[in-house]
Chain length 182, copies 2
C-alpha cells in the first residue's frame, strides 16, 4: 500500500487522541498503517518532524474566520481558538508545547498574536513579550486542564468550569497589555 504524508498525519492524529502522546510511537503508527517502521522515515526525517506535522494539522483544523474588531477581542479569539485546537485532541497542549520548544511547526499562533499587537501600535517589546506570554498562558493552562481529564471533550461540554478560569487568566494578561498600549 501507498500512503501520502497527509494520510500518515491523519492516522497519527486519530491515534494521538486514542492512546495519548506516550502511546504514539513510530512502531505502533506504522503497524496501524500496515507498514514497516522504517517506511515512515521516507515521509518524515524523524519523529519530531512527524509530531510537528500533527501539531500543524491540529492548529489548521481549529482555525476559524477572524472578524477584526478590536485588538483585545481579536487576541481573545486567537487564544480561544488555540485552546479549542488543543482541547480537540488528547495531550494536545503537551504536543504543542513540545513542538514549539523544538522550534518546529509551520503554523505559528504566536506570530499571529504578535501581528495583532503590532497593528494596535504596541511597542515592539510589548508586542513580542505580550504574544509570548499569551502563548505560554494558553499552553500552560490547557496542559493543566488535560492532566485531570485526558479524554477529548465534546463541543457541547466546552462550557466546563475550567472555561471561566481560562477567561479570567486571559483577562489578567490582556489588562496588563492594555496599560502598555500608548
Amino acid at each position: 500500500m501507498r500512503y501520502r504524508r497527509a494520510d500518515v498525519v491523519d492516522r497519527a492524529v486519530g491515534m494521538l487522541d486514542r492512546v495519548g502522546l506516550d502511546g504514539l510511537t513510530m512502531r505502533k503508527l506504522a503497524a496501524e498503517l500496515g507498514v514497516q517502521p522504517g517506511a515512515l522515515y521516507h515521509h518524515f526525517t524523524n519523529k519530531d518532524a512527524l509530531l510537528a506535522a500533527v501539531a500543524d494539522e491540529l492548529l489548521t483544523r481549529g482555525r476559524r474566520a477572524t472578524e477584526i474588531v478590536t485588538w483585545d477581542a481579536e487576541l481573545r479569539l486567537v487564544c480561544v481558538e488555540l485552546r479549542d485546537a488543543m482541547l480537540a485532541c488528547r495531550d494536545g497542549a503537551t504536543l504543542l508545547a513540545r513542538v514549539h520548544a523544538l522550534g518546529l511547526g509551520e503554523v505559528d499562533p504566536e506570530q499571529r498574536m504578535y501581528d495583532v499587537l503590532q497593528r494596535a501600535a504596541a511597542d515592539d517589546d510589548v508586542a513580542r513579550i505580550g504574544a509570548r506570554t499569551l502563548l505560554h498562558f494558553v499552553v500552560g493552562h490547557v496542559s493543566e486542564e488535560q492532566v485531570a481529564r485526558p479524554e477529548p471533550r465534546s463541543a457541547a461540554a466546552a462550557a466546563a468550569p475550567e472555561s471561566g478560569d481560562f477567561h479570567l487568566g486571559l483577562s489578567l494578561v490582556l489588562d496588563g497589555l492594555r496599560q502598555r498600549l500608548r
Copy 2:
C-alpha cells in the same frame, strides 16, 4: 558501595546539568554511581519519582529569605527566585514543567504565590488563577530561554537581555492582578 537518596539526587543534578534531560537516563546515572540500573529502584519507585526529587532539590537550593513588603514585590521575588532556580541547571524549566504536569514534587511555588495573593485579600478565584498564570509564565519563559542557550549560566551573566523580557512579561501579569485587588 552504599548510597543514600540524597547522594543519588546530587549526582542526578550534576548529570542533568552536564548532559541535559534527555541524557539523564536511569542506566547512565547508575553507571556514574557505579551501580546496576536496578539498584536505583530501591531508592525511587520509578524515574518520574527521581526527577521529582531532582526538581525539589533545585527549588530548595534556589530558596532565598523572603522579606515581606508588598504583595507585588513578594510575588516578583518568588518568580525571580523560581527563574534562577531553573536557570541554575540545564533543562531546569523543562524538568520543572514535567514534574509539575505529573503532579509530583513536594516544593510548590504555585502554592506559595497563592498564599501571597490570599494575604493580599484577593478573591479565591483571582488568587488561584493568578498563581497558576504566574507559574506558567515563569516556566514557559525560562523554557524558551534555555532552548537557545542550554548551557548553565553563571551568576555574573544573569543580567542577560532576556532578563528585561522576563520582567516586562512579569509586569504584564502583575498589573492585571493589581486591577483585581480592590
